[in-house]
Structures are given as structure tokens and as C-alpha cells.
Symmetry: C2
Subunit: 207 residues, 2 copies
Amino acid sequence: MRISELSARSGVPLATIKYYLREGLLMPGASVSATRAEYGEEHLRRLALVRALTEVVGLSVQKAREVVALLDAPADGLFEILGRAIGALPPEIPPALRDAEDYPRARAAIERLGQLYDRRFTAVAQLERALAAAEDAGLPLDDARLDAYGEHLGAIAEFDLSRIPSDAEGAVAYAVLGTAVYEPVILALRRLAHQDRAARMLGERAE
Amino acid sequence: MRISELSARSGVPLATIKYYLREGLLMPGASVSATRAEYGEEHLRRLALVRALTEVVGLSVQKAREVVALLDAPADGLFEILGRAIGALPPEIPPALRDAEDYPRARAAIERLGQLYDRRFTAVAQLERALAAAEDAGLPLDDARLDAYGEHLGAIAEFDLSRIPSDAEGAVAYAVLGTAVYEPVILALRRLAHQDRAARMLGERAE
């Protein structure tokens, strides 16, 4: 299809498509003449991904480019690509914490759960910071809570992974978007479960 | 104790304590003379709570005051107080969404889980927004995912509630701080569980 049809079918304005092409977020079409390029379904899929990353997840164009660059030049195995793609998501880790030699709280927690510890993965620094904040608030995560959280979040993660598409581009899109868009769902559902269980426990009625 | 000792024991600077007294975040001490007031353990506990709400959770002084005002004038039952205290936490819900008559996506999800639906609770609007974003990203929450998430987050909520202190001030502090500080822990643990399960599934090794 021509770029005008790509714009019409994707709902992305022509000027935005040209901007994405210049910035490397969208791969070039196939040149069919000096003034015309041909676009296909892969361009439609990519535009949907870029739009979701920037408008729904709220990534900057720079961060969205980091994610799609992993798709365009897959130097590593899928596991490595997924880790780097998810590393582009918030929360931003301060450089001092990101480059730490060790994450003692996170390491102890991950080892207790019998999971792989790889300090290069950004969620390790993220967990370290979260555990330190819990301590600062006077609510350190004890073993019983870690075991309960670990068991149930492990089950959720297994469900998430059971749905991962088998192609690399689909897998990266699902991993990044699914991590980002289901996190607010999970937090809201936990708060609602608190409300539900507390109402039953405290014997009060909702409207 | 005198205010100087309150400052020394709490680690909160004298000027900050005086600011909290003026702003109503800390209740006045008992006057023992025209120039001296006496403070007790309840002031130390309150300072720890205010510090955790502002510095660890990141609430504004205004939002922290909303939370402690619920403790100082408990007009309602504990269930109502807990709901209002947690409503002071981020994410901020846009007024148009907060005042909606109905939250169709959230209501359907909550009813499917067999939980109480009360649209006044801010997490309902939060869930509605999260479910709409998941749709926008092309990853709507289907029933199988909702059931899996609901089951395991319900179990986590039951663990959380099993630890709630029996006194009202302790319960509110635990509910607000526990909701806030364990949310980042939960998100980091989910990402790490993804990494762990993906590594096993994809047959790759960590360092």
C-alpha cells in the first residue's frame, strides 16, 4: 500500500508516519520508484506497537525507539531481547543504583524464592529500592510475606507467559505492552480485593 | 518529653515539627505551662507516620493531612476510614472519571470475581482506566486472565489483611503505608518472576 493508505488504515497522521520514519521507529517501505515506497502489514503492526508504547504506556519517543531497535537488529537471543525491552519501561532507576555491584535485599529475596538472580536485569534494582522503602516506612518485607507474594506472583507470571506469541516481534510487543498495561490492573485489583475482604471481615456492607 | 527531645528521638528537625503542628499534621502536646507542652509516644508514632507518608510514599503535605485528619476525627467506621485513607494515595483520578455514574468495565470484572462493587471507592475508577488502557494497547483483559489475576491477588490481599493491627490508628497506618510500599515490591517481583520463568522456558541461562 502507499503511505497515504498506511495513514488511513492505521489512523496515524501522515506527518507522524514521516516523523517515525526519520526517527527510525518505523522501518522504510520497499522502493518501487524514485518517489514511491510500498508498505505492508508489518508496517501496520509496527505503527500499532509504536502508538501503544507512546500513547498508552507513555514512553518517550527515545524509549520507544530503544524497544523497536531490538526488533530491527536482534543480535541476541529472545530472553536477552525481552529483558532489554522491559528495561526501557518505567520506573527509571537512578544511575547510582543501576550500576551497583550488589543488591543485597533483592538477592536475598530472589534466592529465598529459588529464582534466578541476575543483577543486570533492571527489576533487581527496582526490587532493591522497593524493599529499602518498605524498611524506611517501618514495614520491612518478612519471609512470610515474601513467600506469599512470591507464590502468587509466580502463578500470575506463569499465566502471562502461557500467552506469549511464538514469533519474536509478537513476543516483544506482548512482553513490553503486557508488563506495562497489566501493572495498573494488578494494583487496582489488589486494592479492590482489600476492600472486598475487609468489608467481609469488618462486617460492614457496601451500598 | 519536651519538643527538643521529641525532635532528637524522632530525628525530625525542630522547625519541621513546628510546621507539622501549625499545619495540623501533628496533634498539640499537653500544655504544662504557658511556654511548655509535653509530648508522648503517640507524637513519636505520628511523626513516623507523617515522615513515611511524605518521604517514603511521596504524598504532598496536603494529602498526608487528609490521612491524619481521618485519625484525629474518626466520624465513620473503620472500613469507611480505610477506604478514604487509601483514596489519598496515587494514582490521582481525573475528576471526570472520578465522578462517573458508572464504570462498566470495572463493574463487570468485579462482579465476575464475586466481589463487592462500590463505585465510590477510588480503586474502581482506577481499574476502569487500567482496563480501557489495556484495550487501547490491543491486549484487553479476557476472562481467563481476570480469573487468574483475581484468584492470586485475592490470596495476597488475604495475607495483607491477616496482618492488620487491631487499633484504629495502627490499622490506618498499616493500610495506607502497606498499600503504597508493597505495590512497587509486587510489580518488581512480577517482573522477576517473568524473567525466571522465561529463562526456564526458553532454556537460557543467567550469569
